[in-house]
Symmetry: C3
Subunit: 268 residues, 3 copies
């Protein structure tokens, strides 16, 4: 499946309600991967805006009362129109408010994909109405040793939530109810720039909406594409500032051939 | 007219009420072109802030109820003090809310310059109280074939609104009531970075306030300067990330001599 | 004291309530200097967020009613937990609202460090309840000629406010009640990029919390480190865009040895 070619040809419109820390990077990476971003968060227009877009990314990084209402409204409209909706529950679990807002979002909006790190995903499980009875206490940083258990767990979570689940970290795990990928792309230095997670949600939405025939593969490749772009950037980076800019350069130069060559993405 | 020299010498203070997606780039490009930016959007201080500044840029890219009131207050103060006011109606026409807010802004504030792409300008015409009876249905992407018609139309619009009108696109058209420029600077790749339009409004305000003796030329040269900076940047860019940063580099290195050499700006 | 080594080893969590213009740079420079940033400004979570962090930076650059309440709540929690709190009173004195908010912040929160340029510090003095009777009228741009007077004045201000005071400019002055540093690091070109001041507050908080045994030295070295990073960046910068990115690169590569070599920081 030529995920990148499809994305560049269809150039989907991705509506983002996202944090103000990394919003510029999210817009630029969406453009770099072949789609078009629209950032709009006012309650008076988010439904209308979503109606002219093709997908929705909700990122709670700098959530506040005003934008939470907008997230729910836009999410409901996207659900109604069968537009894919992606949740990036940044910092879920860090404060009760973040956890509560995430719970509310999960109650009121269906998410096609939930993407988070291990602690965000754990916080979702411990606090969601839908995941009562799921034991996440064993869930820990993904290693090759606990990979199979993590995958089994993530598949179960995917079944309960009816969402593709992407758990990011040194080893990324991407599962739907029946299938799983793990991904080894990315480098440690990427943890020293802000926004790689937020950017990956933007690329994820772009690939997903342009490749509806195989959603899990599209999601998995978006996670790999960010990691690979970081690897490529790091080869010439002079520090974290140029690593950041080079990551966007690399994404803008990526095609399916380069992606296939650089992929460290495995079915399991 | 040495627009850049004048800007660097006078270093005007440009107050921006702008979107949070590209605000950092707008601030940096205003500095790069020789002026100073101030971003302030709270209703408790926008009038006072405008009073110590020299110009106002209103950009509705991420408008919300809180900042719309601030835009109107700041705009009224700028009008009272005869400070130039620039409207960048980002996404006007995309949602009813954006169109309605733009209409309200045009009703309550006089704009010295309205700068937008063809669909934003069309949305303004179709919805403004002031432009009733103007037929914009024929207005389309500007080409060398429809250039003269577009210019005639834009001059009429300038007369009705009493604003300089800048329509941006592959061919930019900049008109007041009597005179017109078109501009061929800029490259296709610039469409793959966010914020070039927002940045051009910042440069426009800076050049305009520093060159009051020929406003139309100042506006036209600001549009050309952004395009030329993109062209210069593209020569060494490794992708869209470095194109973005290089554009700011190029603007910071621009002087009137380089601008004159690189200009593709024509009176018509 | 190995301020940078300590910062990289302890990797403190720095909670920032800061402006949306330079927030991405602040997050990236905090990562570059070895700490971790968390940006959160909603009144529903700032106390909880501060409780899991190690320091707080309050920057009023784009203050508004919503975030001012959050600043006070987070500040009170930080005070309660003995976390260092840094005030960056951006634009204090520019509008009555900014001055009034700064006054309110100083009344309700104790700041371990107040960092501002000369006009911001003057505005604080003229308007604070605590500094009545202090004559700031003589305070002017710091030069080698008025350095000793400025230092005497700043020590007095430090005593009254019980805060370390950092006055930034071509010559930076950093004082507590009894001791003083001045710093000559930095370059003129840094004034042509936005956010160097905001970034320095992020580094300041990071160094300060990781080096509690000598707070004044930690603060002074953070100011020097930003200046030195700018100097290093300028050697290869192609303009203000790459100066900006290179500054973050340089900070990410800085260690105590390089800092000691490049320091232009003097006790007085």
């Amino acid at each position: 499946m030529d995920v990148i070619k499809n994305t560049r040809e269809k150039c989907p419109l991705v509506h983002c309600i996202t944090n103000y820390v990394t919003v510029n990077d999210v817009a630029n990476i969406i453009l770099a991967c072949g789609a078009s971003p629209i950032m709009a968060d006012d309650v008076n227009e988010v439904s209308d805006m979503q109606a002219i877009c093709n997908a929705l990314v909700i990122n709670i990084g700098t959530l506040n009362a005003r934008t939470v209402d907008s997230m729910i409204l836009a999410g409901k409209m996207a659900n109604k129109l069968n537009h894919p909706v992606i949740l990036d529950p940044v910092g879920c679990g860090a404060t009760p408010y973040r956890t509560e807002v995430t719970k509310k979002l999960l109650d009121e909006v269906h998410f096609d994909v939930i993407k988070g790190n291990i602690s965000e995903i754990k916080a979702i499980i411990f606090n969601s109405n839908k995941t009562q009875g799921v034991d996440a206490s064993a869930l820990d940083l993904v290693t090759m040793d606990n990979l199979d258990e993590t995958i089994e767990f993530t598949k179960k979570l995917s079944k309960i939530t009816n969402s593709i689940i992407a758990i990011t970290g040194p080893i990324d795990v991407i599962c739907d109810e029946n299938n799983a990928y793990y991904c080894l792309n990315g480098t440690k230095a990427m943890g020293k720039i802000t926004g790689t997670g937020c950017m990956s949600a933007g690329v994820l939405a772009s690939y997903l909406v342009a490749n509806p025939e195989n959603k899990l593969e599209a999601v998995a490749k978006s996670i790999a594409a960010i990691g690979l772009s970081g690897e490529i950037s790091e080869m010439n980076a002079q520090g974290t500032g140029s690593l950041h800019i080079g990551l966007i350069d690399a994404m803008s130069n990526l095609d399916d051939e380069k992606l296939e060559k650089g992929l460290k993405l495995y079915e399991r």
